[in-house]
């Protein structure tokens, strides 16, 4: 199995250094490198790599901003010289990071972890332009960051022009519209219940009939969501209720 990887890092020597480490791992196929976030964004959107080595401090935009711009985030290993602050801002799904100069053993361990993650990936067949259950999205709300797998999200809710994402006990704001998000979600188990919300059907605990032919859903976390009348027909149809 080959892991298709890219490097986004502004220092040429640091990129060389990283390439030297990658040489020892034949399974990694380095398909490109970029020296800043804008070039990195183009590269990732074109090549859709599975693994991203990402520096945090870069000119104009930092590594986090790159992740925010991506619809789908590859498995990411941060490479940083000294950014305790930045690394600590991760709340969920502690991603891997390597401190520069990089210890070869630590590097090998990180790659092993990537392999395990990728093996989990294989079984979900990715069809069209849509995300899959194991696709990750990056959310930065204020000082905190999350990397969340689509399959782990319970539901989405409109807040103004943005969207609140509910997963685990977290509910950060994602700076995208609900419609934008809907286009990317796998249709198999994400369902638009009404104008305000989209739910992950895997997280529904209870469905009860509500008045006017509507339905009321209770989610795993206890949140209650009303399904509009029009959508209730679709819902029943889909769930073969």
């Amino acid at each position: 199995m080959k892991i298709r990887a890219v490097i986004v890092e502004d220092s040429r020597l640091a990129r060389n250094e990283l390439k030297e480490l990658i040489k020892n791992h034949k399974e990694i196929d380095l398909i490109g490198e970029a020296e800043n976030v804008d070039k990195g964004l183009g590269l990732i959107q074109k090549e859709l790599p599975e693994l991203l080595f990402l520096d945090i401090n870069m000119p104009e935009k930092d590594g986090f901003e790159l992740l925010e711009m991506l619809d789908e985030v590859p498995i990411t290993i941060f490479t940083t010289a000294f950014d305790e602050y930045a690394i600590k801002s991760f709340e969920y799904n502690a991603l891997d990071y390597l401190l520069k100069p990089i210890n070869e053993k630590r590097f090998a361990l990180a790659i092993d972890k990537v392999k395990v993650q990728l093996e989990d990936h294989v079984d979900d067949s990715k069809t069209d332009e849509r995300l899959s259950a194991s696709s990750q999205i990056f959310i930065k709300d204020g000082e905190k960051c999350w990397l969340v797998k689509i399959g782990e999200i319970s539901h989405f809710e409109i807040v103004g022009n943005h969207t609140r994402v509910f997963f685990d006990a977290h509910r950060p704001m994602l700076y995208k519209s609900l419609n934008q998000i809907e286009e990317k979600l796998p249709e198999a188990y994400f369902f638009r219940t009404n104008r305000q919300q989209i739910v992950n059907t895997n997280f529904i605990k209870k469905v009860v009939p509500w008045f006017n032919g509507k339905l009321k859903l209770t989610m795993e976390n206890g949140d209650e969501i009303e399904v509009s009348r029009r959508q209730s027909y679709l819902f029943k149809d889909r769930m073969s209720l």
Binding site: S11, R12, L13, A14, R15, N16, E17, E20, N36, D38, N57, P59, E60, A81, F82, D83, Y85, L99, K100, P101, I102
Partner: protein, 352 residues
């Protein structure tokens, strides 16, 4: 306790009224058999004359006499102004006494006796001098005590600030981000240019040594500081490569001059961090050091915009300001400005 100008004024007037009031009340009650009119008149005039003459004296002393560099001329000023105030006090007292005698209600024997004292010029002179000089002494003693207290507080403050500044320097000396990036870059450089890598390792060691040994020193020659700066630039260049252009224009006559350590270095570091590293295309840093008659000017110009980064603590800039203030008071200046797409940091240090 640091008393503000306003409360100091209030204190002055309270003491002024209390003092003169008390003095006049007791001096009048010592004498008996005086008419009510006489007592009231002498208390009111006594208080007014006293307050008027000494308040005028205070206005003068406040403007012209300073304890900061007290000299013979100040003593002379105090004596002379006090004499004038005493003259004013004496003549007003006598004048008002005469007026009372002429136009006031009937005068008793006792009062006549009392006023007679004013006929003897020497008694008046002695009396005025004694009262005014006592006032001056009291005034100066209170002022001096306040100043001593204020000085003590300032000294304590200065001490804490100094310690804080030293701590900040220590903290700010080698930025860990810079150090680890440099080490990583050197590691990468070894793959392509061993000779240069060796040179860079030496430079990094020199920087570490400098920061470990020079943090207790208060002054260092420009030449020595520049060695540190050059090391920093050389190491930054392997990070930024052609994104960093550096120009140094340093007057030869400035090299032996003494400056506080790490000041130029911090300016350059700031220019790199907020100027070059934030720009995709990189930019240029120009260091200018020149000496005019009594002022050493350090000018660091970098491409970029003057903006305070959202997570910047501005520790570096605070550190520079504080140390300059501690070492030179108001005689050194530090300014940061934006000029035509460049950020300009300018430090002026007085030279002995």
């Amino acid at each position: 306790m640091n008393i503000s100008e306003k409360s100091r004024n209030r204190l002055f007037w309270v003491l002024q009224f209390a003092g003169w009031g008390f003095l006049n009340l007791i001096s009048v009650f010592f004498l008996k058999k005086l008419s009510v009119a006489f007592v009231v008149f002498s208390i009111i005039t006594g208080i007014s004359v006293g307050i008027l003459s000494t308040s005028l004296l205070r206005v003068y002393l406040k403007r012209k006499v300073f304890f900061e560099n007290f000299g013979l001329s100040d003593l002379f000023k105090i004596v002379l102004s006090s004499l004038i105030a005493a003259f004013l006090y004496g003549s007003l007292s006598v004048g008002l006494g005469v007026l009372y005698e002429k136009y006031g209600p009937g005068i008793t024997e006792m009062e006549k006796e009392f006023l007679k004292a004013y006929d003897n010029i020497w008694i008046v002179v002695f009396n005025s001098l004694f009262i005014i000089f006592s006032w001056v002494v009291t005034y100066l003693v209170i002022k001096l005590l306040m100043k001593i207290n204020k000085d003590r507080i300032e000294r304590l403050k200065l001490n804490t600030n100094l310690k804080q500044a030293q701590l900040n320097t220590l903290k700010g000396q080698i930025n860990p981000h810079f150090m680890f990036n440099s080490l990583n870059n050197i590691r990468g450089l070894m793959l392509e240019d061993v000779e240069k890598s060796r040179e860079m390792l030496t430079k990094l060691s020199e920087m570490l040594r400098y920061s470990l040994t020079k943090n207790n020193v208060n002054a260092i020659s420009v030449e020595e500081e520049l060695e540190m700066v050059d090391n920093y630039i050389a190491l930054s260049k392997i990070q930024f490569e052609d994104r960093l252009e550096y120009i140094e224009e340093v007057g030869k006559d400035t090299l032996p001059l003494l400056i506080p350590p790490m000041i130029v270095q911090l300016l350059i570091e700031n220019a790199t961090k907020h100027g070059i590293s934030a720009l995709k295309a990189g930019g240029r840093i120009i260091l200018h050091i020149k000496k005019s008659k009594e002022v050493l000017t350090i000018l660091v110009t970098n491409t970029g915009k003057l903006q305070i980064a959202k997570n910047s603590t501005q520790l570096g800039l605070k550190n520079i300001r504080q140390r300059l203030h501690l070492l030179y008071g108001d005689k050194a200046t530090f300014q940061l400005s934006e000029q035509l797409g460049n950020v300009v940091a300018e430090i002026k240090i007085p030279m002995p």
